[in-house]
């Protein structure tokens, strides 16, 4: 591991993490420390394993029948893949925002409070919804039509709704899997602004194929290539003077 990492506690760490689908190894012995209250970007060409790695962090790979995970993932020192750990409990603390907005076929309000509700919150749901929508900078646009279908929102609004939905769970980490890839530049800018604001409250791991975006929003950047972690360090350093030739080639657009 290279680069200067700022002094923040480690909230999530992988130890020799490998992920395979059947015979195909997608992530290879990755050691990575995610720091609390920081934005960590994971970049790399398509198929480099960055999304796969992200989905290991909240056990979304449980739904892929032939996925095999080796090594360890520690969340606040607890092994995420310990038999005693309830994946539902993990996902309450490590939220996720997906590539394409995926609102439920429900009202805006019910989209936000569904997560807390199924996890046993009964009180002050209205207040919770308002706060989450405020934080996701969506409140002003939807406060008069909370009970309309979420499917009537624009793509950018839907994605902010999905962010509000994740925030309503009050997670410690928010995983973002190319959250802007289906959005236009203006909607993208709004999401990036949100990521900046969230830094103080949450830990964010964002997978992106857009290097400018990684440079704009993140504190630290990890570069993955063919399943290997090539370089990991402060974003400034990675983008100005990377240690590895491979990183420099990717960042300057020589491949990828």
């Amino acid at each position: 591991m290279t680069g200067e990492l700022m002094e923040h506690p480690v909230i999530l760490e992988t130890k020799d993490l490998s992920v395979s689908y059947g015979d195909h190894q997608v992530v290879k012995k990755v050691n990575l420390n995610i720091l609390a209250n920081q934005v960590t970007a994971v970049i790399g060409p398509s198929g480099c394993g960055k999304s796969t790695m992200l989905r290991v962090f909240n056990r979304m790979n449980d739904f892929v029948p032939d996925a095999r995970i080796e090594g360890k993932v520690l969340f606040e020192k607890n092994d995420l893949y310990d038999d005693k750990i309830d994946p539902g409990f993990i996902r309450q603390q490590i939220g996720m925002v997906f590539q394409r907005p995926n609102p439920f076929h429900k009202s805006i309000y019910n989209n936000v409070i569904w997560g807390p509700k199924v996890n046993g919150h009964k009180k002050d749901l209205r207040e919770l919804a308002e706060q989450a929508l405020q934080k996701a900078a969506l409140w002003d646009e939807v406060k008069d039509r909370l009970h309309e279908s979420a499917l009537n929102l624009s793509g950018g609004q839907q994605q902010r709704l999905c962010i509000a939905r994740a925030i309503a769970m009050n997670p410690k980490i928010i995983l973002m899997d190319e959250p802007c890839s289906a959005l236009d530049p203006r909607a993208t800018a709004r999401i990036e602004d949100l990521i900046q604001e969230f830094r103080s409250r949450y830990t964010i791991v964002i997978v992106t194929h857009n290097m400018q975006q990684a440079a704009r929003v993140s504190d630290n950047t990890a570069f993955l290539y063919e399943g290997n972690l090539v370089e990991y360090g402060a974003t400034k350093k990675i983008f100005t003077q990377p240690d590895q030739k491979k990183t420099e080639d990717y960042i300057t657009g020589r491949f990828g």
């Binding site: 539902g88 309450q92 996890n119 939905r165």
Partner: protein
């Protein structure tokens, strides 16, 4: 020259095939309409639609179709209230709770159920379902609406299952992942996220199943009897609209008289009912396509 001729011949063959479809439909509608018109010359439409006694063969003759409609409705709603929950649960299980292996075993069984001739279902009702039910309700008639509704349910639930299964599978994986990512269980995702998202296609499945139940003939003729009574019980013999048409067609009644023309009027009503159902079903399916 020859190839041009073949081209023309092929074109006209296809046009004829298409024309046959259209012409058949038109002829059926025209004949139903014409014969019904003659019937309604003798029996007022109001008496037909809202009369409560159906006794076209007894003096004084009475042509109130309500007993037949109620008989049909008993079968329709009785069967759908069994077939919908069963069909939905199987579909939810196949698409959300199990692997493709289990699905590939269950699907052929459902297809076999669809392939069983309806007359077999009728005898199944008469010789198996009714005796079983009579252990529970000893006062039950040999011919009764309950056992007919049960076998019609068995006939239509595979359709509900297969249409709902398709509907659930058409939903993107990301929708499920979004729900799981909030810490929900499979049960919560299936009931609260997947089913509402497929609501309009479930609606379409129900309507198509209803229309099939309305038109079902053989099993209800055998199992439900031929007693057009206006009542609410499922334990007594009834007569459905289709079963009545069978009875007339079997030849007890002389062709040409007003008694004979009743079956065109009943047939027209039946046709309109299934037509409305099919239009509704298509509307639901279209709506679901727009919302996705």
């Amino acid at each position: 020259m020859i190839s041009k001729f073949i081209d023309h011949a092929l074109h006209w063959t296809l046009v004829v095939c298409v024309a046959i479809t259209v012409i058949t439909t038109l002829v059926v509608v025209i004949i139903l309409g014409k014969e019904s018109y003659l019937f309604f010359q003798e029996v007022p439409v109001f008496d037909f639609l809202f009369g409560t006694r159906w006794e076209p063969l007894l003096e004084p003759k009475s042509f109130g179709v309500l007993p037949l409609v109620v008989g049909t409705m008993k079968i329709v709603f009785g069967s759908i209230s069994i077939a919908l929950p069963v069909g939905l649960m199987i579909a939810i299980y196949m698409s959300e709770f199990t692997s493709d292996n289990v699905r590939s075993i269950v699907k052929p069984f459902l297809e076999i159920l669809v392939g069983i001739p309806t007359v077999v279902y009728g005898y199944f009702a008469l010789t198996f379902v009714t005796p079983m039910l009579r252990k529970l309700f000893p006062e039950m008639n040999i011919f009764n609406a309950a056992s007919a509704a049960i076998v019609v349910a068995i006939m239509i639930f595979p359709m509900v299952t297969s249409l709902c299964d398709d509907a659930f599978r058409a939903l993107p994986r990301s929708l499920r992942e979004g729900a799981f990512a909030l810490g929900a269980t499979r049960y919560e995702v299936a009931i609260q996220i997947i089913m509402p998202a497929a609501a309009s296609r479930i609606g379409a499945a129900v309507v198509l199943a209803l229309s099939r139940a309305i038109g079902e003939t053989m099993a209800v003729t055998l199992a439900a009897g031929a007693t057009p009574e206006l009542s609410l019980t499922f334990l007594e013999s009834i007569q459905t609209m289709t079963a009545y048409i069978v009875q007339v067609s079997l030849g007890d009644i002389q062709a040409g008289g007003v008694e004979y023309m009743t079956c065109y009027a009943v047939g027209l009503l039946l046709f309109l009912m299934t037509l409305v159902m099919n239009i509704l079903g298509n509307h639901f399916q279209l709506k679901s396509r727009v919302s996705q």
